[in-house]
């Protein structure tokens, strides 16, 4: 327990001390939130209704997809994992603790957004706080798991950026953050359901913000939770101590299984 606390404390402080992580955990999400609040809400007043869930989803995507994988890959390439292995740091701590500390940073950002948005932008608050918290945690869990998995299977920093952007950019465009899911063409809508952001926005709308969900909102929560669970399981299974990431227990393609709950959701939750 003592070791876990020291590890957690160090990783949490790194999230503020490291300039890249500070940017991804706080500056980018909060800066984008303020920019969108001041500009987008003026252009499209309906955006006010979505500003809290949309900016929280954005914050989670930025902190996890852009903040978690690269430090993991760098640590592996620089021999930090070897040093951890020699000193008895278990692989599960290496994978789970950065995810937990990132989730804690996201909680802080979410609280800041939720408190300030009604004052600054006249944004409506959630109507069901318990559901709001559950959906936030499911989203954070799913995105943190996916990001850890990307860090585990990426062969290099360059590829990490590519894989992360492959999820981040479509999430921004199709995830319901900028424009409602209902405005997407059907085929784009189906593709969008493979993204955690779409599932989270759907669940926030249907279960926490008092709006209509485009498809089964509890199905979205379930898909997020299952995907997160699968992602962490696959990350632990595919984890390699090797600084060249050349030896692991299974093919990196197994990581695609993380999309399975979302893919099944397309057919099961309409």
């Amino acid at each position: 327990m003592n070791a876990f606390l020291h590890h957690f404390s160090f990783e949490f402080r790194t999230g503020i001390r490291n300039k890249q992580l500070l940017l991804m955990n706080y500056l980018f999400p909060l800066g984008f939130y303020l920019m969108m609040g001041f500009i987008m809400a003026e252009i499209n007043p309906l955006f006010r209704e979505d500003i809290i869930p949309a900016m929280i989803v954005f914050g989670v995507l930025a902190a996890t997809l852009l903040g978690i994988p690269d430090p993991l890959v760098n640590a592996r390439e620089n021999g930090v994992f070897r040093s951890y292995k020699i000193n008895g740091v278990p692989s599960i701590s290496i994978l789970v603790i950065p995810a937990l500390t990132t989730i804690l940073h996201m909680v802080i950002v979410a609280v800041i957004i939720t408190i300030t948005a009604p004052m600054l932008f006249d944004a409506p608050l959630p109507v069901n706080w318990l559901n709001f918290i559950v959906i936030f945690l499911a989203l954070a869990f799913a995105c943190a798991g996916l990001s850890v998995l990307i860090g585990v299977v990426s062969p290099s920093s360059r590829m990490t950026v590519l894989w992360s952007q492959l999820v981040f950019v479509p999430s921004m465009l199709l995830g319901g953050l900028m424009l409602p899911y209902s405005m997407l063409p059907e085929i784009a809508g189906k593709f969008a359901q493979l993204l955690p952001a779409t599932q989270a926005m759907n669940a926030f709308n249907g279960l926490a913000m008092g709006k209509d969900a485009a498809f089964a909102p509890w199905g979205s929560v379930l898909a997020l939770a299952l995907s997160g669970l699968l992602a962490f399981g696959l990350a632990v299974f595919l984890f390699s101590w090797d600084s060249r990431n050349s030896s692991r227990r299974g093919s990196a393609w197994l990581a695609l299984l993380v999309l399975l709950p979302y893919a099944l959701g397309i057919f099961l939750f309409r």
């Binding site: 590890h7 001390r17 490291n18 070897r82 020699i86 000193n87 008895g88």
Partner: protein
């Protein structure tokens, strides 16, 4: 008689078709400083990584403190300390945090005194990337020994260190040895290996080509003694001048250097030659072969013993 702290028997390590280590065997006794020497690609790193439990051997058996490093990792971790060549710490961690972090995983109290001893008192709150190479190396060593391991692996421990720190580190190694620790020292610094090691093993192309005390290893060479001569004139450098029992001769830094299998006749002949040519002697040195000389002899010739 106590059992060896490290037992290596017919150890092999292959990567695909490449044989990195080809069936080597040796033991290391408790309290020994054991030097592991070899040129790049000799198999040193593979041997160390398997002994440290970072890789699994392809064949043979390894025992460290009576345990199999590959299959008994949980017990094994608290019994060894490793100073990695590349320091391998997160770039934002501070020495204080690193000490708390690793000691917590070893379930011992943090040894901040070691940070002070290693000259890191003023840098305890600096981030790892802000430390100089020497400071990073010293931190790595402090972390390697903080949990009082029985076996310590040091990979190029003094590379990039200033003279004072190097001396301090050597003193610390002797103290650890006196306290009963066994030290495996992998180094390219032959003077360090000769000074610090009780025994050394020389690896070449994956094979163990020589093992013994530094004295034993130097004694098993060609037995050549190095004679360095500097004179006022250059009568020794004239073509055709030769002396008895000399097998090699070269000129370096104003010195004629001879390798002789029988120093008496060689030195007498040199003195006689200088007297005959009226060439005043400035300096004459007779040195037994160093470990470095023997190492170069072995690695250059690729001799298998």
């Amino acid at each position: 008689m106590t059992s060896p702290m490290i037992q290596v028997k017919d150890f092999r390590k292959v990567y695909g078709d490449y044989v990195a280590v080809d069936g080597i065997s040796f033991d290391v006794k408790q309290g020994e400083i054991f030097g592991l020497l070899g040129p790049n690609g000799a198999g040193k790193t593979s041997t160390l990584e398997c002994l440290e439990g970072l890789r699994a051997p392809s064949g043979g058996s390894l025992r460290v403190v009576g345990l199999d490093p590959a299959s008994e990792a949980r017990k094994f971790r608290n019994l060894i300390g490793v100073q990695l060549q590349a320091s391998g710490l997160p770039e934002s961690i501070t020495p204080d945090e690193a000490m708390k972090f690793f000691c917590a995983y070893h379930d011992v109290a943090p040894r901040f005194d070691l940070l002070e001893r290693m000259g890191l008192k003023e840098k305890r709150s600096a981030q790892f990337y802000e430390l100089s190479t020497g400071q990073q190396r010293r931190l790595s060593l402090a972390l390697a020994v903080a949990h009082n391991p029985k076996v310590i692996f040091l990979d190029e421990p003094t590379a990039g260190l200033d003279v004072a720190t190097r001396v301090e580190l050597h003193d610390m190694m002797r103290e650890l040895q006196a306290a009963g620790a066994t030290i495996i020292l992998a180094t390219h610094d032959m003077a360090e290996a000769e000074e610090m090691s009780d025994r050394v093993a020389i690896l070449l192309q994956g094979k163990l080509v020589s093992i013994g005390t530094p004295m034993e290893i130097t004694a098993t060479g060609a037995g050549l003694t190095k004679i360095s001569v500097r004179t006022q004139e250059s009568s020794l450098s004239v073509q055709g001048v030769a002396f008895p029992a000399v097998s090699q001769h070269h000129f370096k830094d104003d010195y004629n250097i001879y390798f002789s299998s029988d120093i008496g006749p060689t030195v007498s002949a040199i003195i006689a030659h200088l007297a005959a040519k009226n060439d005043p002697l400035i300096d004459l040195r007779v040195e037994r072969p160093s470990l470095e000389d023997r190492f170069l002899e072995i690695t250059n010739s690729g001799v298998r013993q």
